[in-house]
Symmetry: C2
Subunit: 222 residues, 2 copies
């Protein structure tokens, strides 16, 4: 009898970090189900990357949609400006979407419960990041506890684990890990603008560029 593989839901934005999280989950032996979101993001283009990365990793891909009619972030409100060369290490920038990872993780938990997955992977990172509070380990740990109290799966003893393999790594370490795991980095999309080419000046582009520089590698997506 073939033992069925343990399952994981991976939050896949189409960016670098979530792609590495996906390949890390696969390397840990999980059968991965990718989950992406359309929520009116400026860089909806990332979804094309997410779909390609999922296909490249031979994992099924699921898209959920939601609206945030109250907006409140330059990432979803086209009347607001995405900061260019902002001081991304000193304060939380306007690209912060209130509660975004909390919402993402809630959907992932619902999906995980539905397919009997035992883990949810998120590429959250609190080292080279924009200061978003929902990327921090402390929050992720407490959220896991809440999930296991608030889901049928959790209360019945089949705990859901939130895995955040990148949370304490810097961007260069993540990029080296990507190389080791053979992540198709050329398919990833990080830029907050959904234009033909990455802008090179938004926080996301700059963090990526600095990471490749520190890892002494060339960005294959450029």
């Amino acid at each position: 009898m073939i033992k069925s593989k343990k399952k994981a839901v991976v939050l896949l934005s189409g960016g670098l970090d979530s792609a590495v999280a996906l390949y890390a989950a696969k390397a840990m032996g999980y059968k991965v189900h990718c989950l992406s979101f359309e929520y009116g993001q400026r860089h909806e283009k990332e979804l094309r990357s997410a779909k390609k990365i999922a296909r490249c990793s031979s994992s099924p891909w699921m898209l959920a949609r939601f609206s945030l009619p109250w907006k409140g972030s330059s990432l979803i409100d086209k009347n607001m400006q995405v900061p260019a060369k902002g001081d991304f290490l000193k304060s939380i920038p306007t690209t912060y979407v209130p509660g975004r990872n909390i919402i993402f993780l809630s959907f992932a938990a619902s999906f995980a419960e539905r397919i009997n997955a035992e883990a949810v992977f998120i590429g959250a990172n609190e080292i080279d990041f924009s200061g978003y509070p929902d990327c921090r380990q402390g929050f992720l740990k407490t959220f896991q506890t809440a999930l296991n109290q608030g889901t049928k799966q959790g209360v019945e003893g089949k705990k859901i684990k939130i895995c955040y393999p990148l949370v304490k790594k810097n961007k260069a370490q993540i990029i080296k890990m990507a190389k080791r795991l053979k992540v198709p980095l050329e398919l990833t999309w990080s830029c907050y603008h959904g234009k033909a080419k990455p802008c090179g000046i938004c926080d996301s582009c700059r963090l990526r560029e600095l990471g490749f520089k520190a890892a002494k590698m060339k960005d294959p997506a450029l």
Copy 2:
């Protein structure tokens, strides 16, 4: 100078409990912002009730939409049957939507952060309920801790409070509370089927009927 009222987001489904939660929030002096969801629920009709109740209470009403493509509940999957006269006190019924309150609360937190609200009200109840794990106080408390670690508002010291004024009350007590608070019970909709009249046999109808019976009151919505 008129001191501006403290704000709260109230999760308003259109049912009895959430309407009472709304009026409880108002009685506690909050300026209430109602939040309802369209998520492919069978009884979408409840949204009409939600809108009317919000208007009746002179509170603004916001509707957010989301999809749960993995379904997994008879409340959103029309190929599944809503249990009739199910044994709702012994096991979690198929109307349980995986992670639903977790998703609702995540959206509410995002909205609360956007409008600088300090509280989120939910009509969750763990006495006369269908056994949904995300209606329990333990979960709600941990979730509040997670929110305050994972939101900008939380980490900057403006804590969000999750309020669940009905969690330990039985249905009869909730109905008496509704009367005291002058909740327009005639506008509420509880039935899981979105037909012209309440079916009278789904868990939600039966819990409501038993509650009115125990409170020795007539249901004004019938």
